[in-house]
Structures are given as C-alpha cells and as structure tokens.
C-alpha cells in the first residue's frame, strides 16, 4: 500500500470514528450538564467541600468560582514542585526552581501544558500524578464548564442564572473525563504504554553498555493529556516517546482522543439550545478548517522542499519511523488546532510552510475544533462576530439564536478576540527587542524568529507545543510566558462569562423572514471567512517575517 493511500484511510478512519461517537457523546454531555440528580460520589464530594450544587450562580459568582479554584490550583501546584524532594517517591529529583515552578503551575492550570522542563529528569512520581495529572483533569473540566455556562446563556431567557460552577466542575470530571480516560488508559497499556511506580531500571545491553529505562504512571497520564486537550508529556519527547505512543494504533487512538470532546461539544450545544442543526453549522466550520490544515501540512511534508530534507530524501528529521510523514502531520495539525500541544514529532524540524500552518492553527484562537470547552466558546464568540458582520452588511440588528447582539455583547466579543493577538504580538516584540529573544534561538534567520513567535503564540493560546529548539527555561521566558498563559486563559473567560450573563438576561426575539439562518451552510461559509480574514489581518505581518519568509526562500 502506498503511504498516501494509508494516510487517506487513516484520516477516513479518524473522521468515521469521530462521526460515530460525536452523537452519543454529545447527547450524553448535554444530559450530564442538564441533570437534576447527583451521583452518590458527587454528593460525597459536595458534602466534604461544603458546596451546595443546586444554587444557581449569576455570572460574577460563576467567574469567582473559576478564578478562586484556579488561583488555589496554581498555588498548590507551585508548592508541590518546590517541596517534591521531601515527599515520597521523589526519584531523587531536586525541587523545581521558583520561576520554573511558577511557569509550570500556570501552564497546567491554564490547560496549556507548556513545559520548560524535561519530565524524565525533573518531576517526581508525586508531582506527576497528584499535581500535573490532577490539573489535566480539572483544567479541562473548568474549560467545559465555562463553555456550558455560555451555552446556557443562549438557552435561557429572562434570568441571569448560569448554573453552578462546582456542580459543572465535578460532573465534567467524574462523569465525562474519568470514564473516558480509564478506557483510553487501559487501551494504551494493552498496546504497550507503561504504567508503574517503579524506579529507573538499568539493564545491560547486548553490546555491554548500560541503558536506563524510565518508569512512570504514563498511560493514565497520557489518556487524560489527550482527552483533556492538555498536552503535557510525561517525557520530554512527549507522544514521540515509545512509552507514550508505542505504535500506529495508539497514534490513531491519541489523535482521536484529543479531538473527540471538542468535536462532540457542538452537538451538546445544539442539544442544549434545542436545535441540533445549529451545532452542525458550528462543527462544519471547525471541520473545514481542520481538514484544510491536515491536507496542507501533509502535502508540504511529503513534498519536503527544505534543503536538508531534499538531501535526506524526505522530511523525517524529528519524526519517528513508526509514524512517518503522514501520521505525524495529522497529529501535528490536530494538536495545534486543539489546545493540546502534545507532539509525536518535533514541529521545529517541519518544513517552513508547514510550521506556518501549525502556527496559524493556534493563531485562529484554537477553535477548529479547539480545546475542550475553550474551542466551543471561542467558536461561538466568532459566530457572534460573523453574525454582526452580516448585520452590518444588511443594516439589521444582528441576532443569534434569538438573542440580540447589541453594543454590550459585541464589545465583549471584540475584547475576547483581542486578548490573544495582543499577548502574542506584544510578547514576541518585547522578546525580540531584548537580548533574551535572540539568546533562546537554536535556529538562525527567519526560522529563529519563528521559534520565538511560536512560543508566544503557543503560550497565549494555551496550546503548549513548541518549536522546541527554543530555550525556554530562563527567568525571563518562564515569567513572561507564564503571564501570557494566565492572561490568555482567564481574560477570555471573563468576557465569555459576562457575555453569557448578558445573553441569559435577554428575552428571545422571534425569528422572522429577515433573520440570518445560522444553521445553514451559508452561515458556515460566512463564519469560516470571518475567522480567516480577522486572523489573517492580525497575524499576516508576523507570519511573513517567520515561516512565510523561510518557506518561500526554500
């Protein structure tokens, strides 16, 4: 079988699996967040915490819950890293330095999972499982909770109530993320991923050399790393490490896992607003952009125009033999268009233009399909912008799902889409203006600039992947990238929740002949166009200096 045919079948299998699962999973998630009853284990959790899961919260209260929980999480994770040497199962690793511990804590709490450390020689068993893996769950659950709150804003009328944050957090963790992760983790172990709490294991090879085999609760962390679109690798090589991603089957499984919730949430959205076709219009826009990215990167990687790749006969630098160019490209696009950031090959060594597509995937705001929760609310904000643009064209007050998009709504949406471009462009500009930027580059010329641009893009959009030649472990980058991650995660959430509150207060306006039909393909096209134009105008100059200059020079 030719590699291209195998890739076509791989993508077809992936899309088929997603199509099959999105409906039951989307409906299930809608039921989870609409249920009146609590499970026994949930009641036990609420009791031990002292939270009342049935109190409705207005948006400021919901936001306070999100921020309080996240602030406490950052502090806890920071302290855990600082004292890991004094806890059991430390593997002899030293405490993490203050700036790196801050960076890592923000990184995992903000669902970014940017890593300026090497997992196999830095983080103890306790830090990995009771610190990092916990945030893999709860940061994902927070993302879904905020998305659900926004959906409730559309679904509800004449109330400011958006649900209960504690209940949404616990339900997302207990009823969605844990069950999916358990199944996924066991499949991964069966296929070869490791799962143990042993010590570093030294063997004597046939040549007489010693080799140290790493231990770890890898499969359990790998599962939630993908399901929760987190992306923080147990090992430095992330999903390129054979213990995290042993073969072609696990590769497909992991890509499926990181896409499954983001691509199913539009169904949840459609179900909760009472019109599943609205969800399909959204998922279609996500799917079109994702698919275009997959085709572009796969094609460029096979064409391998780079000088070194031409000499080698293919784009295999930084890729694993068991994956090859095609499955690596599929993973790379899926991880940058969600907020995952795990990698099965190193993006720094991709062809110049492929790197540009990967950057663009993040610059779009990771909405195709985006991170768990954050993808849906990001896309819904873009839908409001698209509706607003259409309204300007025909001179009508725009509406979406029966809610008027007035001054307040459009201001909030506009603030939302300005946050990450501001962080990315200002962050990159500052780093380039200071000696720190140049000092961090492994590569020279345009590609060196791309490394810095990629770092700020990845951090601000909460992706977490890197052009990993970038030397991120300095006080300057740990601090500035940490701030980008925190602001890039929580400022948009403020605007989203404020938006949800204001939408929920409105009374719905009836649809008339003049209403834009937002469940039709025409709207999907308008949405994709609006996304490309807004992002393109914002980032084109930066892309021209980096990947475009590099790719066109080749």
């Amino acid at each position: 079988m030719s590699p291209v045919l195998a890739d076509v079948l791989l993508v077809a299998a992936l899309i088929g699996a997603l199509a099959l699962v999105h409906r039951p999973l989307g409906d299930y998630m809608a039921a989870v967040y609409s249920a009146k009853k609590h499970l026994r284990v949930e009641r036990w959790i609420y009791r031990s915490v002292g939270a009342d899961p049935d109190t409705e919260m207005r948006w400021p209260a919901y936001l306070r819950g999100v921020l309080a929980f996240s602030a406490v999480s950052v502090l806890f994770l920071y302290l855990l890293q600082r004292v890991q040497d004094r806890l059991p199962l430390s593997l002899g690793f030293k405490p993490i330095s203050p700036d790196q511990a801050f960076n890592t804590a923000v990184s995992f709490v903000s669902n970014t999972n940017w890593q300026s450390y090497s997992g196999e020689t830095a983080m103890s068993h306790v830090t990995q499982t009771a610190g990092l893996a916990v945030q893999n769950f709860v940061s994902a659950a927070v993302g879904i909770a905020v998305a659900v709150a926004l959906v409730r804003g559309f679904a509800r009328s004449r109330t400011g109530d958006l649900g209960n944050f504690w209940a949404d957090l616990v339900r997302g963790t207990v009823r969605i993320l844990i069950p999916v992760s358990v199944i996924a983790a066991l499949l991964l172990i069966a296929a070869g991923a490791i799962q143990n709490f042993g010590d570093i294991h030294t063997v004597t090879t046939l040549t007489g050399d010693k080799q140290a085999i790493s231990p770890g609760a890898v499969a359990s962390q790998e599962a939630i790393k993908d399901v929760g679109t987190n992306g923080g690798g147990f090992f430095n090589a992330n999903s390129a490490h054979p213990f995290e991603n042993p073969n072609g089957f696990t590769n497909l499984l992991e890509i499926f896992l990181l896409l499954v919730i983001p691509f199913s949430l539009p169904r949840t959205f459609g179900k909760m607003v009472g019109n599943v076709r609205q969800g399909y219009a959204i998922v279609a826009a996500m799917g079109i952009i994702w698919f275009a990215g997959v085709v572009a990167v796969t094609w460029i990687e096979y064409a391998h125009p780079g000088t070194a790749s031409q000499l080698a006969g293919g784009s295999m630098e930084g890729k694993e033999q068991r994956f090859g160019e095609g499955p690596s490209s599929l993973f790379a696009v899926s991880t940058t268009m969600t907020s995952t950031g795990s990698v099965n090959s190193f993006h720094d060594s991709y062809q110049g233009l492929s790197g540009g597509v990967l950057l663009l995937g993040m610059m779009l705001g990771e909405i195709a399909p985006g991170g768990v929760g954050s993808g849906l609310y990001g896309m819904l904000v873009m839908a409001l912008i698209a509706v607003f643009l259409a309204g300007l064209m025909v001179g009508r007050t725009p509406e979406y799902l029966g809610k008027k998009i007035g001054t307040r709504e459009i201001k909030l949406a506009a603030c939302h889409i300005l946050v990450t471009p501001a962080l990315v462009l200002i962050g990159t500009a500052v780093a380039m203006a200071l000696p720190d930027g140049r000092g961090a580059m492994t590569n020279i010329g345009a590609h060196g600039f791309s490394e810095v641009l990629y770092a700020y893009t990845s951090a601000s959009n909460n992706n977490g992947s890197a052009f990993a030649g970038f030397g991120a472990d300095t006080t300057f980058f740990n601090t500035t990238l940490g701030l980008c991650m925190a602001l890039g995660r929580f400022l948009p959430m403020v605007f989203v929740l404020a938006l949800a509150g204001s939408l929920a207060e409105q009374k719905p306006v009836p649809a008339t002949a003049g209403t834009l039909r937002t469940e039709k393909p025409l709207f999907t096209g308008l949405l994709v166009g609006a996304i490309m134009i807004i992002t393109g105008l914002t980032f084109f100059p930066a892309l021209a200096l980096g990947p475009l200059a590099e790719g066109l020079a080749a």
Binding site: E120, A133, L186, N196, I224, P242, E320, P327
Partner: protein
C-alpha cells in the same frame, strides 16, 4: 468591604477543599486503579516490554539502543544500526535536533550521515534511505525502515560469518507492516532483529 473579604476568603477555602478532594479522586484513585488493572491484565507492557536473553534483561522492545562498539562512538559492523540519535540513545535525554528543514547545520549533518552510512555499508549514497540520515523525534526510536535494514544486510552478514540469504530472511521475518494494513509505517525493530541475529550467529 469586610463582607467581600469574608466572601472571598470563604470562596478560596471552598476552592481549596474542592481541589484536595479532586486530587484524591483524579490524582490518587484514578492512577492507582489504572495501575492495578493494567498490571493484572497487561503485566509486561505496564512494566516497559522488557526483553530478556538467556534470562538476562537486555533492554525494552520499545526503546532503541546504541549499537556502537563499547566505549566508542563507532558503529559496530556486526550489528544492525538504528537511526541517528540526538542523545546517543539515552532514554533520560529524549528529544531531537530541533533544526529547521533549511538549516545549514542540518544540511551538513545529513550530508555527513549519508556519507558515513554509504561507506559503512558499501552502498552508493543514492541507496541510503531518509530514516538513516535523519534524527528521530524521541532519540530512542526503536525502529528503522525496511529499506535501511536491507542495505545493512551484506555488511552484517560478512561481519558475522553468515550468508546474505540467511540475514535477508531474518530481516524479512522481522519486518512489520502497517498495523491493520494502514496504521503507521512499515518498520523493523532493531533490538529484536539483533537478538535474532545473535542467536543465528551463535548456532
């Protein structure tokens, strides 16, 4: 003012308790459960797919190794060689070169690798496949392409006093196709191939 301080304090206290409870559930119960079931059902995989020869552990099926002459950085002609590794196959330093596709340093490295592989295996440079001259992502890639295995057959056979046909057969037996026909790339696991080679050479 006082009221809002009290409220904020109460909120943070609730948040902390929630975090601790969820830490127990997702950070302790979840991994222990997965570890428990995983070790019972898939003991070998959970422990790293360790391979034994004559009762002694010689590595993991999934982790690539260096096949250099001991104590040197020279490849040993009697073994099948793996892909270039950024860390010399040290599993505690995984990662890759991170050099861009047009980088002059990478061009130099590829050219040097191509020359070395061609001379080492007595084949023309045009016969050297891409995986033989490019560093893997993990630095511990356990596999090579079937093409890279094939160009090593002659040299390995000579160094071990075996016939080319015997070694060719070995390579064929250890060539794995795509999983289920379409997942991943065809490949040869170097450690397993070399273990089989050693057995053949000793008997």
């Amino acid at each position: 003012m006082n009221n809002s301080v009290v409220n904020t304090g109460r909120m943070l206290w609730a948040a902390l308790r929630m975090l601790l409870v969820l830490t127990v559930v997702t950070g302790i119960l979840y991994p222990l459960m997965v570890t428990g079931i995983g070790r019972l059902a898939f003991h070998d995989q959970a422990n790293g797919s360790i391979v034994e020869v004559d009762g002694k552990e010689v590595g993991s099926k999934l982790i690539g190794q260096s096949w250099n002459i001991k104590g040197t950085d020279k490849p040993d002609p009697k073994w099948f060689q793996g892909r270039p590794s950024h860390s010399g196959y040290d599993p505690l330093a995984t990662g890759s070169s991170q050099l861009g596709a047009d980088d002059p340093a990478l061009v130099k490295a590829v050219a040097a690798a191509k020359k070395q592989v061609a001379e080492f295996n007595h084949v023309p440079e045009s016969a050297v496949p891409k995986d033989a001259v490019t560093g893997s992502a993990s630095a511990i890639d356990p596999d090579i392409s079937p093409a890279y295995a094939r160009i090593q057959v002659q040299r390995v056979a000579e160094a071990n006093g075996l016939s080319v046909a015997q070694v060719e057969k070995l390579v064929r037996e250890h060539t794995q196709g795509r999983t289920a026909g379409f997942l991943g790339e065809p490949r040869v696991n170097v450690l397993e191939l070399n273990i089989a080679l050693r057995e053949l050479a000793e008997h």
